[in-house]
Symmetry: C2
Subunit: 180 residues, 2 copies
């Protein structure tokens, strides 16, 4: 598992509350490791009990109190232990493939519409990534170290979405021709 580790990476970059982490996951890390606030709160509590992180309660006026977490020594140790450990390659799991495979058992028309819808969503995500790329890494050739790594992860997202959109186009085209 790696939600623990994703949180540790994020908290090492900058301390934050569960809520803030959930926002960060929505915007960046979560593109590669999605997580809801429920999951994040639960894991934070677990890691707190295990001594991987420590929290400081911060009273705010006008807003609810918050707990700001920062990585403890044990957390840093666990993180480098995990970084050195081999990771199982991720598997593809997309219901759209199953739907396409079964298209002829239902309405090919509808499956085609569905693929067009997915194409649009992935194209939007791609635009978001490209926006981040332009804004945060306008000159990638000069990047080094941590920033380079962040950039390369983003590149992974861009490539995945590009390839998905291209596949959708291939499918849409082929299904339309088959229908004629």
């Amino acid at each position: 598992m790696a939600l623990e580790h994703a949180i540790l990476v994020s908290l090492t970059e900058r301390a934050g509350s569960g809520y803030e982490l959930a926002r960060r996951f929505d915007r960046s890390i979560g593109y590669f490791w999605p997580a809801t606030h429920q999951q994040i709160y639960r894991v934070l509590r677990r890691m707190d009990e295990a001594g991987w992180v420590k929290h400081t309660e911060i009273g705010q006026d006008g807003r609810p109190d918050k707990k700001v977490y920062r990585v403890a020594a044990a957390g840093r140790a666990e993180l480098s232990r995990w970084l050195a450990e081999p990771e199982d390659p991720a598997v593809l799991r997309d219901g759209l493939g199953v739907k396409l495979r079964g298209a002829s058992l239902g309405s090919v028309e509808l499956v085609l519409k569905e693929i067009e819808r997915h194409r649009a969503e992935h194209a939007t995500r791609l635009e978001v990534y490209r926006g981040i790329q332009k804004r945060d890494f306008p000159k990638p050739s000069g990047l080094r170290g941590r920033e380079l790594h962040q950039y390369l992860v983003l590149r992974g997202g861009v490539r995945a979405e590009e390839s998905f959109v291209a596949w959708c186009d291939e499918v849409i085209d082929a299904l339309r021709k088959d229908n004629k």
Copy 2:
């Protein structure tokens, strides 16, 4: 959820036992919707109780008896209901991205090795897909209907692996240059 539906699609193509389904998932559908035999047995029993599939016990000599499942009317109904229903776009979830993002907190050397290892595994998977493509769809331009759909799903796998391997190459190259 869609394991039910993945199984229904597979069983509609050809009736089979839980064991046979598990083999099929290992070889084809499972590239896009992985499942272990445990999961398959459990879901088959559930679908049997719900009347979506029916089984016939087949005694074999020299081998254990098996239950051959085939899709019942209720299963066909459920399948076309699901096919017409919108599906949430799949999310990317790859620990390797988290590792790369956190690389500078551990050993960049080791993360680089890890990425090379993943590259090799995905390249192997890509070769498997290309082999299937060559063997089963030597002339894709003439394909229609169900065969076309199967081919297009395979194309999705090929594209995903190609793009992953290309990303690995980009990362390996960039990390090596950064290290110099």
